[in-house]
C-alpha cells in the first residue's frame, strides 16, 4: 500500500489502488493512469471528487443568481402592473428562439460527454463545435435584443429602455426596476455563456488532441455540468422575463 513516491512531482504518478471509501483494494485500471493526480487513490475517486466539486460550485451559482431572483420576486410583488407592461417591451420571439438554441446546445453538450465516454474523438470534436456555435448564436441574438432597447422603439417612442435619464419618461417609474433587473440578469447570464464558450474552446483543443476516453473524461463531464446549468438559468429567465402573459391580453 505504501507508495514511497514522496518526492513525486505534482501531477505525478504515485498511486495506490484501494477504494477510498470501502477500504477494499481493487485494481480497476491495472497500472495507474497518466492523468491521475498524486493525491487521489484512483481514477474513480478523482472523477467523483471533480463532479462533486462542480455540483457544489453550481450550488454557489444557484445562490448567486438567487439574489437576483429575490429582487425580482420582491419588486414583482410590489409592482405587478409595471412588471407586466415592462415585459411587453421584450421580444418574445427572440426569447423563445434563444431558448431553443440553448436546448440544442445542451443536447450537443450531452452528446459530447457521451462521445468521450465511448471514446469517439470525432464525436467529441463535432459536438463541441456545435455547442460552441449554438452558444455564439445565443449571444448574437442577445446582442440584437439589447440593441433594440438602447434606442427608442414601439411603445417607448420618447426614450430608451435603459434605466436612468434616457429612460422613456412616459413609462411608469417602476419599469426601470424591471429593466435594471432585466439587464443585470441577462447580462450576468450572458457573461456565464462567454465563460462557458471559453471553457468549451479549451475542452475542444484537448479533445482534438485525443486527451479524453472511457478512462478519463472528467473535464468534459464537469464543464458540461456548468454548460447545462447556464441553460437552466435561461429556462427560468425566459418565462419570468418574457412570458408575463400580458402580451396576449392575459392576467399576470
Amino acid at each position: 500500500m505504501a507508495n514511497g513516491h514522496e518526492s513525486t512531482m505534482p501531477g505525478g504518478h504515485a498511486a495506490t489502488t484501494h477504494d477510498a471509501h470501502t477500504g477494499q483494494g481493487h485494481n480497476v485500471h491495472g497500472s495507474h493512469h497518466p492523468r491521475l493526480q498524486h493525491h487521489f487513490y484512483n481514477m474513480d475517486q478523482q472523477l467523483e471528487a471533480s463532479t462533486l466539486g462542480m455540483w457544489v460550485f453550481l450550488v454557489t451559482e444557484i445562490m448567486f443568481f438567487g439574489g437576483l431572483f429575490m429582487a425580482y420576486i420582491v419588486y414583482r410583488y410590489w409592482y405587478p402592473d409595471a412588471w407586466v407592461s415592462a415585459s411587453n417591451h421584450l421580444d418574445v420571439g427572440l426569447g423563445a428562439l434563444n431558448t431553443g438554441v440553448l436546448i440544442f446546445s445542451s443536447l450537443t453538450m450531452a452528446l459530447a460527454v457521451r462521445s468521450a465516454q465511448v471514446g469517439s474523438r470525432m464525436g467529441q470534436v463535432v459536438n463541441l463545435i456545435l455547442t460552441i456555435m449554438f452558444g455564439a448564436t445565443f449571444l448574437v441574438v442577445k446582442y440584437f435584443e439589447y440593441a433594440a432597447k438602447f434606442t427608442t422603439g414601439k411603445g417607448h417612442e420618447d426614450g430608451t429602455l435603459i434605466p436612468g435619464p434616457t429612460f422613456s419618461p412616459s413609462l411608469p417609474k417602476a419599469e426601470q426596476l424591471f429593466f435594471a433587473l432585466y439587464f443585470i440578469m441577462t447580462g450576468i447570464h450572458a457573461a456565464h455563456m462567454v465563460v462557458g464558450i471559453g471553457i468549451m474552446l479549451v475542452i475542444l483543443a484537448m479533445a482534438w488532441k485525443g486527451r479524453f476516453g472511457p478512462d478519463y473524461y472528467g473535464p468534459v463531464e464537469v464543464s458540461g455540468l456548468y454548460w447545462h446549468f447556464v441553460d437552466i438559468v435561461w429556462i427560468f429567465l425566459f418565462p419570468l422575463l418574457y412570458l408575463l402573459g400580458a402580451h396576449f391580453g392575459g392576467g399576470h
Partner: protein
C-alpha cells in the same frame, strides 16, 4: 456510498434525443399557455413548466440519475437554501401592511 462504478453507465443517444424533443415541446407549450388568460394561474403554470424542464436537464443531461445520493442531496440543498432566502424575505414584504395604520 453508491458503487463507484455507477457513473460509468452510458446514456443511450436515444434518451438524450427524447429529452431534447421533450424540452422543445415544453418550450412551445409554455409559450402557448402564456397566450391564454388563466388569471393568477399563468405564473404558477409557467414556473411549473420551467421546473419540469430544469428537472429534465438535471436528471438526464447532467446525469444526476446515475449519480451518487450525495450529488442529489447537494442539488436539493441548493434549491432548499434558495427557498429559505425567498420565503423569509417575503415574510417581511407580505406582512408589512398587517400592522395597520398607525394611530387608528
Amino acid at each position: 456510498m453508491s458503487n463507484s462504478h455507477t457513473h460509468h453507465i452510458i446514456t443511450p443517444v436515444g434518451t438524450y434525443v427524447a429529452v431534447f424533443v421533450g424540452l422543445l415541446i415544453l418550450t412551445g407549450a409554455t409559450y402557448v399557455v402564456a397566450t391564454i388568460d388563466l388569471g393568477w394561474l399563468n405564473t404558477p403554470v409557467a414556473l411549473a413548466v420551467a421546473l419540469l424542464k430544469a428537472s429534465l436537464v438535471v436528471i438526464y443531461f447532467m446525469g444526476v440519475r446515475y449519480n451518487t445520493p450525495l450529488t442529489k442531496v447537494v442539488v436539493v440543498a441548493g434549491f432548499f437554501w434558495l427557498l429559505i432566502m425567498f420565503s423569509l424575505t417575503m415574510a417581511d414584504y407580505v406582512s408589512r401592511p398587517w400592522i395597520g395604520v398607525p394611530g387608528r
